[in-house]
Symmetry: C2
Subunit: 338 residues, 2 copies
DNA sequence: CGGTCGAGTGTGACCGGTCACACGGAGGTA
DNA sequence: TACCTCCGTGTGACCGGTCACACTCGACCG
């Protein structure tokens, strides 16, 4: 019937093996109701024919595809790209195809379009990278029946009834700030990344350390995801001679701040110490090498896959323990000149 | 029938509109054989019901899904990530879902697995990012009936009968080298990225400029994609006092080379000039800001989508003109000390 | 020795679309 | 008026799997 040179179907396998298509289906689904010899025989035929089950057909009558779709507002920025990498790796070992859909903005139309996109059965399980307002908005807009989990900023998002997974950045931010304080700095300034809440993550840990040391808490300067805005923030701080230590919201910001400092004639770490966040590959090779906090974004992505798989299969939620973000001390932080 | 609270199907729409499911199908496929009033009525019902066509069902009987699958060996490195970004954007405006599948290595088993993965109809059109041996191997292993195009290194790959799209890096590399020569350097050294051939791209342009200037052509140092290997290459060159100008295969390499130079007590650009390739965001904020070549990876990704869409629809191949890579002169290149 | 049970297997319908083809009616032509 | 066309629409089958259910046959039971 269909055998003519096109890709073989389950019925071709059945015909060649001398069994019914249902039996082949059972073998594919590892049903116990098949005699071992029959199973082996079918497996042999599958191999001989080079048969591969058709994902679309399977998705069609299972209602939902065995797949993972990632909703994210960016794919190039280090943190996002790394989470995606972790998701892809984990999904691949699970045998799940991975789809990507970028959320351009947090505008209502775009958010709705993104949410509708994953309403389709072929999207499978959904992972929303909700590090920003756009991601958070989509997470909220998702139809309740869509199986989804989210990678969020530290602490998760309030008012959303979804499994949320995040890296606990607060202790590391606290430690980084303590590190600078311990070097003798009177206080530590902070250039923050754009954030929905900022109450649980990097900024919170920084504040913790300052408060526990009984040291003045400078006002936070906020930058965007683009380096240019970080540079402007850096210029602001560079102009202030009282600034001797800066905890930067991420490594890109640290890069721009270092540049601004340099232009203002202030040496790093001689005059000002800076600490980043993320540990992008390469920052160990900066001059000076950057003291920063290593983040396990890849592990976060992997954990999301585990969670969404559990969500789909209805299995109990796995206990996910992620490697803590960790301070890596290099050259960009040192004692202040007195 | 199926209407009970689950997602509406084409038959639900048909029933509510008082037409046959075929008519609804025709409306969806913009067939001219539908009376305008009927079409509008059906469209209204679709809207009212919030009906979305099921991608899996469509893929099932169309034979191939309306989708794009990207095969790549990396998703985090700047060039790869940026191509992916361009693909995603272009595919999104075409209404095509995007899938990702990473090729872990160029090992036979992995290459075969990747090629088989896109053999499935639900993969749709395939874009192979063949910047490296793994990608090239998969491109060669693809079943001929799979509609695929490739983003390759400059010049394309020989012996592969696929549409290949690439950025012509040679003129820009030549220009960058001329720029350094023009500043007064006796010659320019080169740290190359890993490459399959290296006969058409960055390295070739570098060689062109050196030969046309009648200047000695130093032997090429090759680095890997990781910063550590670039650093080792940099150390090698830094030890040689005759080296005063280095064209780096990409910005990551430039970063590591600059570090190596710094450790050897050689100033950039005072003692040694360096030029990168790619123009990663942020390199304008390095200290010194990096002279580099801006690459339109995103446009490359977009062009791949146009090409693969043409491949699927059987339309004539569009003429694709990509913005040329362009030298951006900043601070890391200057005149040599005499 | 007939009845029950369960293991192993097969048949039919169905998932949600699309293609091939049939069909009724309006309009044009002979 | 009879016939052919073409437009707009409907019916049936099918894509490649899976589920629900039926069936056969041997083992075990009373």
């Amino acid at each position: 019937m269909t055998q003519s040179r096109s890709v073989p179907s389950i019925r071709d396998v059945a015909a060649m093996a001398g069994v019914s298509y249902q039996t082949v289906s059972r073998v594919l689904n590892e049903s116990p109701r098949v005699r071992p010899e029959t199973r082996q025989h079918v497996l042999d035929v599958i191999d001989r024919l080079g048969y591969r089950p058709n994902r679309a057909a399977r998705a069609l009558n299972l209602g939902r595809a065995g797949a993972v779709t990632v909703l994210t507002s960016d794919t190039v920025l280090y943190g996002y790209a790394r989470v995606l990498q972790g998701i892809e790796e984990a999904a691949r070992v699970e045998g799940l195809p991975v789809g990507i859909r970028v959320i351009e903005s947090d505008g209502a139309a775009e958010v709705r379009a993104a949410a509708e996109y994953v309403g389709d059965a072929s999207a499978g399980g959904v992972i929303v990278v909700a590090f920003d307002p756009a991601g958070a908005a989509v997470l909220r807009a998702l139809a309740p029946e869509v199986p989804a989990v989210a990678a969020t900023e530290a602490g998760g998002l309030s008012g959303v009834d979804r499994r949320m997974i995040y890296l606990d950045e607060r202790p590391a931010a606290r430690e980084a700030t303590r590190h600078l304080l311990g070097l003798g700095h009177a206080t530590v300034h902070h250039v923050a990344i754009p954030s929905e809440t900022g109450t649980m993550g990097r900024q919170a840990g920084w504040r913790d350390a300052l408060e526990e040391a009984g040291v003045p808490v400078p006002s936070v300067v906020t930058a965007g995801w683009d380096v240019a805005s970080a540079y402007r923030a850096g210029c602001e701080l560079a102009a202030d001679r009282a600034v001797t230590a800066i905890l930067c919201g991420n490594d890109d910001i640290a890069l721009a701040v270092r540049r601004a400092l340099h232009e203002a004639g202030r040496d790093v770490p001689g005059d000002v110490s800076i600490v980043g966040f993320d540990d992008v590959p390469g920052c160990a090779y900066w001059t000076p090498a950057l003291t920063t906090v290593r983040m396990n974004f890849e592990g976060l992505g992997r954990a999301c896959v585990a969670a969404v798989v559990a969500e789909i299969t209805g299995e109990p939620q796995p206990l996910i323990s992620l490697e803590e973000p960790q301070l890596v001390i290099r050259e960009s932080s040192g004692a202040p000149v007195l």
